[in-house]
Amino acid sequence: MKKNKLLDSPFAVIFCNLILFLLIYFTVMSEYMISLAIIAAVIIAILVVNRFDLINKIFDLYIRHKKTALISALVLGILYPFSLTDNVYVAHIATLAVIYGIACLGLNFQMGSTDMTNFAPAAFMGIGAYTVGIFTVKMGFNPWLGMLAGVVFSGVFGFLIGLPTLKTKGYYLSLVTMAIQLAFTELVRVWPYVGGDDGMSGVQRYKLFGFELYKRYTIFGIRMSPQIPYLLLCIVFLVICTYIAMRVYFSRTGIAMNTVAQDEIAAMCMGMNVSRTKLFAFVIGGMYCGLAGALFVGLEGYVGPATYNFQKSLMLICMVILGGMDNSIGVVLGAFVLAIITEKTRDFADFQQLIYGAVLVIMLIVRPDGIIPWRVRNHDLITKRKPKILERFKPEEDIAEKAQLKAEV
């Protein structure tokens, strides 16, 4: 009994968060062999623990103590970058992982929730990134304005892609998005205005109230690596994005998405607007990816076609599959794991793809649903807020009245 009480308390959530962050910290900081070993150990541990359905319980816990989870995650997230001190390379990996996490959350709306495999997340990222590039390098605007425009543009692009793909399903939809991805890479490669093959370098970095976000600072006498403030910014964005994603997950739209994924015709028959739901998934997913792209530029200070190619798309898709479809937390975790593996194995680049592939194959065999898999949504939450209901042609009372009349006669 006592143990159960402790397990249900908000302290358990904080404890879980702490373990998670310590794991991420050690994985990022240590040598590649050790970090790979840690990842392998964690995955095996998850598989063992899952026998007792513990992951679902922990997930429930997080949902019950939403605020505690969020605040403790934010606090730990903010403390985390300072622990990296002046290790430039590690800070770089950590920032990349966080940015990929945002992109994967976006892709998850399409791939996980609505079951539309989008092979063009990197194209969406590219639109966000190129918009920032054009706004700052070519037009000399503030990069924040570029980020805003990038998010809007990729949302609009998502809408434009979504429209013609409403009628295509399954493999055909994937083929369409694949073509869009390839066309995007090719377009920016041959378009001289955006630099063609060379891309655009010297993209202005973000500043916050005159406070440079990409600069070495010394805090308490410790010299920090230059990415630290930027990493902080990305973490804040990630937490906000996760929060929004969770809200969508539990909303009526989220439930509609889930239903569309399972059976489109049935979803229609239940009065769900299938077209709107699909378009929503494309637009919000596009916006997330656009934001990730805009943040990516801020990190690298350069946009080029090679960064947003088909391979990047595949990597993002693998992250979503690895982490667990239709699960915001799982997807972010998948992004972290794969980003760390990719960067850690950079030392032997020849085998990088091999290791990467091996991880995926093993995962798909032992746990095909991903680390934290798909869950059925809690439908009690549908009626939590008063939704907008479509007009009913005839009130139910009339029907009941008629029945009574008929019975009397």
Partner: protein
Amino acid sequence: MIRMSSMPISEEVMKMSKNDLLLEVKDLYTSYGRIPMLMDVSFRLREGEICTILGANGAGKTTLVKTILGMVKADQGTITFLDKDITNLPTHKRVAGGIQVSSAETGTFPKMTVEKNLRLGAYNIDDKNLLAERLEEAYESFPVLKERLQQKAGTLSGGERTMLALARAYINKPALLIMDEPSLGLAPIVVDEVFRIVKRLNQENGMSIMLVEQNVVKSLGVSDYGYIIQKGQIIFEGSPDEIRDSAILDNPVMS
């Protein structure tokens, strides 16, 4: 073959007030690409009645249901539901307007429990208390489901799944319930049960039901009026007795 749908509408139908008319389909043409599926289909469904559409495989029954629901676009003709022209409305608006369908095709969600399936069906109910009330009612009407609330819908038997689909439509208290082949693939004893429930829904709740069926004897047994559809055309209409008496069912294609 004699086309009888153009015969004068019976006096009874003429007499009925406009308010009583629930669904009216007029001169409906539908096609898949260049293949015509429905040709000049017209029928009426009055409030509080069970209307049967009989037809063999490939006669266009399911196409008719899909056209009424808006999943297939009508090439010509009008569909009027409760004095509103719904011919060009999207499916979800028609459903919200009070048409529900339960069929093998719109089936259940196999990975979800029975309870979640039912709750999903209540997507258009905005009141939590009302929803709880409706669920209770549904469990009462379909006791089979109450025993299996936490079971995955994929593990239910065919009959139970049909009940689930029915219950899901029932929760919304629709003005019109369309049932697309409820007896498909069920054991005879279960079919009897399904038709008993259909009759009960109609009598106790005053639900108007459009029954689309192949099972002639059973469906005529419960319905108030019937249409026979063949090769995309309505070839006969009348009360169940008239249909039974007519020689039309002796045609080997129909039986």
